[in-house]
């Protein structure tokens, strides 16, 4: 067994920082006494009152998504340097930590997923709620059939000026916010409408049925994605909004910021 221990020692040798993913209180205590490396907690809530903490906006099921978000968050907050050896302790199968991953932050190209949540105009909770709606819609579809949807979140004033109504706005004079339980049902029902949903910085649903008309110049998204994704890429390039798209054809949820795809989720995994 000593070879195994040696192997693990190679993985964790000279680590600058230890990332604990959703640790329990006692587990964190054991690490908190370390002096030679920083301990960063990555979780949906800071239950252990850690000093260095990165908040996960949603429960990433795949490890690489979680690690990516955690490291980008720590880089963004300046907890770790650009050139640091990071050891991540996470759980993949069930509740207890069972996986150790070593990442060099230097060899790591940020996808902007942390940026999407924290540095966007809209509040992180709003983006998270919209993502959850999109994921749920992707999972269940509309009456069993796959649907597509496009949510434009944040910078609503500008988005409204760069779009036109396709028909009467069902959310006219209403005051509903994403995250209210009833709204998820409403959005699901309205997802059969054509056009985009526009959601304000604070999460108010401003309009449905919007035809976006940004200038699509210079938008570079992977070939094969349809008009909905092109519109999402273009509107986020033209305004400070972010867009969350549920694809009708492949069922994936993609998030756009500044004209680029920053996050790709498979609803079936959540």
């Amino acid at each position: 067994m000593s070879e195994l221990a040696d192997l693990l020692e190679d993985v964790v040798a000279d680590a600058d920082a230890v990332f604990l993913f959703s640790p329990s209180g006692s587990y964190y205590e054991r690490f908190a006494e370390f002096d030679d490396s920083d301990v960063v907690v990555v979780a949906t809530e800071n239950d252990v009152d850690a000093d260095a903490f990165v908040e996960l906006p949603l429960e990433f099921t795949d490890l690489s998504g979680r690690v990516r978000f955690g490291i980008e968050g720590a880089l963004g907050q300046g907890i770790v340097d650009e050139d640091a050896e990071v050891v991540c302790v996470a759980d993949v199968f069930g509740g207890s930590p069972d996986t150790v991953v070593r990442v060099n932050t230097d060899e790591f190209s940020p996808s902007g997923v942390y940026d999407l949540f924290v540095d966007s105009r809209a509040e992180p909770a709003v983006i998270r709620d919209v993502l959850e709606v999109a994921v749920e819609l992707g999972k269940k579809g509309q009456k069993g059939k796959p649907v597509g949807a496009l949510f434009v979140v944040g910078d609503a004033g500008k988005v409204m000026n760069k779009s036109r109504p396709l028909s009467y706005n069902p959310f006219e004079k209403s005051h509903v916010h994403v995250g209210d339980p009833i709204v998820n049902v409403m959005l699901k029902e309205f997802s059969r409408l054509d056009g985009a949903f526009v959601i304000s910085d604070a999460g108010k649903i401003v309009s449905a049925y919007r035809y976006l008309e940004p200038s699509a110049e210079g938008v570079d998204i992977p070939k094969g994605l349809g008009a909905r994704h092109m519109a999402a890429g273009a509107i986020t390039r033209d305004t400070n909004a972010v867009a969350i798209v549920l694809s009708e054809s492949d069922g994936l949820v993609r998030a756009f910021k500044a004209g680029e795809i920053v996050l790709e989720l498979d609803p079936e995994e959540y």
Partner: protein, 262 residues
């Protein structure tokens, strides 16, 4: 007109009969006390009181003494019935001829019972309120905010003590004046501090209900022209060329709104 019950009993029954009746009253009191104890326990448990008081210091102290809040209240109710029965029995049998003394005790007993009950309710309500308030303020990460839940707790304790003392007939005028000063100060200060917010909320209510302008419209408020980004209860966000104005809603009312239509 006061009926002299012992005398009535004595004329209806014989001297011995009165004694037997007193014994009967004692037995009946014991049975009724037990019934009251049982039904109080049942009633409070059904109402979910045991879950509501779970974890409060009072409940913990009660548990430490080998009982619980429900047990204490039930015992108190039963005790009240027992003592009432004993006094009635003593009165009927006239073992003591101290009618005046017992009359005063009988008159005082319900007050004592209410006072103890008020104290128990106050202690539990105070702790519960402190928990609720601190739970609400959990996301506010300002150390000084920890003072607020304690303030709420002791305010409720103070009220409970005041009610209890008032029941017992202790002079509470000074405490009442203190309470009046305290609540006046609270209302006055809150009114003063929240004046602006209340005005903004009143204006915001109108804006939200009638929507004279909505997100995406170009407006001019208070010489600030731009596109409306957000209309909230308290403020309106207007943005132009990278500058975002956060305008309190009462300003929208004061200066009026110019809707710009090309």
């Amino acid at each position: 007109m006061q009926i002299d019950w012992p005398e009535v009993v004595r004329t209806v029954f014989s001297e011995k009969g009165a004694f037997v009746l007193a014994l009967g009253i004692l037995v009946l009191g014991a049975v009724m006390g037990y019934a009251v104890w049982r039904s109080t326990r049942r009633l409070l448990t059904e109402a979910g009181v045991d879950q509501a008081v779970e974890g409060t210091p009072f409940e913990r102290t009660a548990r430490g003494l080998g009982t619980s809040t429900i047990g204490l209240v039930a015992n108190l109710a039963a005790l009240f019935v027992y003592v009432g029965a004993v006094i009635l029995a003593l009165n009927v049998s006239q073992l003591f001829d101290t009618v005046v003394f017992w009359q005063r005790v009988t008159a005082f007993l319900p007050n004592l019972f209410v006072a103890i009950f008020a104290l128990i309710v106050g202690l539990i309500a105070g702790d519960k309120a402190r928990l609720v308030v601190s739970e609400r303020l959990r996301s506010v990460k300002v150390p000084e905010v920890g003072l607020l839940p304690e303030l709420v707790k002791y305010s409720i304790f103070y009220l409970a003590a005041l009610v209890a003392l008032g029941q017992l007939g202790v002079a509470t005028e000074a405490l009442l004046i203190l309470l009046a000063a305290y609540s006046f100060g609270l209302v006055f200060l809150i009114g003063l501090a929240f004046k602006q917010l209340l005005a903004a909320a009143a204006a915001g209510l109108y804006l939200v209900l009638t929507q004279p302008y909505s997100i995406g419209d170009e407006v001019e408020i208070d010489d600030r022209r731009g596109i409306v980004q957000e209309v909230g209860m308290l403020v309106t966000h207007v943005e132009s060329d990278g500058e975002e104005y956060v305008i309190p809603n009462q300003r929208v009312f004061d200066s009026g709104i110019v809707r710009v239509r090309e």
